[in-house]
């Protein structure tokens, strides 16, 4: 079942990809154009997706996950997406602190320890990347 669903998803993705690929120029005077290779890839995706939908024999199985654990993973992903969203406003130090605290809390770490470890992590990575390696991290539009 999982294989068929995956296959169907790939067929859908392949069709979408194909719809965009055929809008690209296929031929130029100097050989195949920008759309040539994407067209071939779309064909490959559709073909392998269809094979997965109809294949018999060895199938994939989904590893069982407790609903509670799955909710935790969902929360972790949500905090990662939230991090991306707030990073330009809050800046690296604050956003990283929040992300680390979220990750630690998902392990059941106490608020105190989470805040301490999170602050240490954010500060340490900032210290390594900005003054030491000379790279730049977002300061945050709220503070600048």
């Amino acid at each position: 079942m999982a294989t068929r669903l995956l296959g169907a998803g790939i067929v859908l993705f392949g069709a979408l990809y194909l719809a965009f690929a055929i809008q690209l120029p296929m031929h130029t005077l100097a050989g195949p154009g920008a759309g040539f290779f994407p067209l071939a890839v779309a064909g490959l995706l559709l073909l392998s997706g269809i094979v997965a939908v109809f294949a018999r024999g060895a199938q994939l199985s989904v590893e069982a996950t407790a609903p509670k654990a799955l909710a935790k993973v969902g929360a972790a992903l949500a905090s990662l997406f939230a991090f991306c969203a707030v990073l330009p406003y809050l800046g690296y130090l604050l956003a990283a602190l929040l992300l680390a605290v979220a990750a630690l809390r998902l392990f059941g770490t106490s608020w105190r320890a989470s805040l301490m470890v999170g602050a240490a992590l954010a500060a340490a990575t900032w210290a390594i990347f900005v003054p030491l390696l000379g790279l730049s991290l977002p300061v945050g539009s709220l503070f600048s």
Binding site: A2, T3, L6, G7, I10, F13, Y17, F20, L24, P25, A30, G31, P32, G33, A34, F36, F37, P38, A40, V41, A42, L44, S48, V51, A52, A55, G57, L60, S61, V62, E63, T65, A69, V73, A76, L77, L80, F83, C84, L87, Y92, A96, L99, A100, A103, L104, L106, F107, G108, T109, V117, L121, A122, T125, I128, F129, L133, L135, L137, P138
Partner: protein, 501 residues
């Protein structure tokens, strides 16, 4: 002769204090990455690429290569002491290594694993020096048709070796190729699949995808499993010395593992994993007492541990001489070379001798350092496992984010990494190996370019490929391997009644 002067030059580069330091840091981090279960060489190298930005190219590649082969040492430590393979290439080591530890011989198992790794690593470097320049010379005659056939056949071969069914691995290849087409077309300059986002015009970078698929996905798995405590066996230095019999039994497995590992490293595929599995089976087959395997046979530690180290060396040959990567780890090395403005390929040894010979020489030094680090200091590495999982997860998450951002100062890269992380977690749940996707993403632009150039050269006539002997050879080799594999499967299926095996 050229080789000796090259190597001498290499040592003069590698022995410079900053490069020695880079080598030391690389192998130290590699051992750590190897010890920590889950954080394998792929995620480890991706996490640490930003650390190399400030370094000159040779120091950067020396450090990253150190992480790659260093992780093979570290992986065996936890496999033996805790029955927890630090990475997939140490799974076979855990079988007999842990049994030896349970029988009170963890020290000799660790010592033989380290010595085997050292011998294999050193022999593998000799292999690179012998095969690399030769292959580069051959590759100078390669045109677009050869590169196309080589890369495409490599992908097909990779799918054949995948632990998943062929069509599933092929889906991964398709996705990787599709991702590689995002951005400006390298030949005509047309924008493809950018949907008006100027940032997407540069294409989707390899590093955020690897960090997501391996790093973030690992953190998500850790969060799912929750806190786990490791129980640690103590090993003293004087317990490490193997008995005379153990040493004697290990000599041939180490040598066979080295040769086998190097050869498997040369061909596309998850070389470190495949070679350790194969070496284990070879040793069991050749042994006069195969019943000891699985109950603490030292050969079962010596062979696979040597094989996976030699495989890391073998895998570097196509990377250095052809500029093609067939594993995520060598893809990271390739990406790092390009970031530092060094173009790998047949002319690499001529145009960047400092990097090529410097890295080779540093691998001699690095293997020696690893032997020193891993024998007397083994308990230090094991104590890394005392680092609580929650802190480790937070550290990896933050490093992924900050590393990805600093690559191009791009917020979009972090989004890509998080999406790749969610996707990678899904793949783990389905037990799908993501590496064909990564390799297709790396090889995609090259496959596309060489295919289009080939079609232009051929002017619509497909006969061109048939007139190229190297192309025909590569296609025939892959076809033969598949035919052979199918034949063995078919033969094994023959005794229908006795299919209980």
């Amino acid at each position: 002769m050229e080789m000796i002067t090259g190597l001498a030059h290499g040592f003069s580069v590698a022995a410079l204090p900053p490069n020695l330091l880079a080598c030391f840091v690389g192998v130290l981090l590699g051992s750590l990455v190897g010890v920590l279960p889950g954080i394998g060489p792929n995620a480890g190298m991706a996490l640490l690429i930003p650390l190399t930005f400030a370094l000159p190219p040779e120091a950067a590649i020396i450090m990253l290569a150190g992480i790659y082969y260093g992780s093979m040492y570290g992986g065996s430590t936890t496999a033996i002491l805790l029955n927890v393979p630090g990475e997939a290439a140490s799974i076979m080591t855990a079988v007999d290594g842990y049994q030896m530890a349970k029988k009170g011989r963890p020290g000799p198992a660790l010592a033989i694993a380290a010595i085997g790794s050292f011998v294999a690593g050193t022999l593998g470097i000799v292999g690179i020096m012998l095969v690399g320049p030769w292959l580069a010379e051959v590759a100078l005659r390669f045109g677009p048709p050869e590169y196309f056939v080589l890369a495409a056949a490599g992908l097909v071969f990779l799918c054949g070796l995948s632990p998943n069914p062929f069509h599933i691995a092929f889906i991964m290849v398709g996705l990787g190729l599709a991702i590689s087409t995002v951005g400006i077309d390298p030949i005509t300059g047309t924008q493809r699949f950018t949907f008006g986002y100027t940032q997407l015009a540069q294409g989707i970078d390899l590093v955020p995808v690897i960090m997501g698929l391996y790093g973030i996905a690992e953190v998500l798995s850790m969060i799912e499993e929750g806190e786990q405590k490791a129980r640690i066996t103590k090993v003293r230095f004087k317990d490490l010395v193997p008995s005379w019999l153990e040493a004697k039994l290990s000599v041939w497995p180490i040598l066979r593992g080295s040769g086998l590992g190097f050869l498997i490293g040369l061909v596309p595929g998850p070389a470190t994993v495949v070679s350790s599995f194969l070496s284990y089976r070879v040793e069991k087959r050749l042994s006069r007492t195969p019943e000891r395997f699985g109950h603490g046979a030292i050969e079962g530690v010596a062979g696979p541990e040597s094989a996976n180290n030699a495989a890391t060396a073998g895998a570097m040959v196509p990377m250095f001489s052809l500029g093609i990567a067939f594993s995520p780890a060598t893809a990271m090395l390739l990406a790092a070379l390009v970031i530092h403005g060094v173009q790998p390929g047949p002319l690499f040894m001529v145009t960047a001798p400092d990097v090529f010979w410097g890295v080779i020489a540093s691998m001699y030094i690095g293997n020696l350092l690893l032997l020193i680090l891993n024998l007397p200091l083994v308990h230090l590495f094991v104590s890394v496992l005392k680092l609580p999982q929650n802190v480790l997860a937070a550290v990896v998450m933050i490093l992924c984010v900050v590393g990805t951002y600093s690559l191009n100062n791009s917020l979009l890269d972090i989004w890509i990494m998080v999406i790749a992380g969610a996707f990678g977690y899904g793949l783990r749940k389905l037990r799908i190996d993501p590496s064909p996707l990564v390799i297709a993403l790396v090889l995609g632009p090259m496959i596309e370019k060489s295919l289009r150039q080939t079609m232009f050269l051929a002017n619509g006539e497909w006969g061109l490929i048939v007139t190229r002997p190297i192309c025909v050879g590569v296609v025939a080799a892959v076809a033969l391997l598949f035919a052979g594999n199918a034949f063995f499967k078919w033969r094994r299926r023959l005794p229908v009644g006795a299919a209980l095996d």
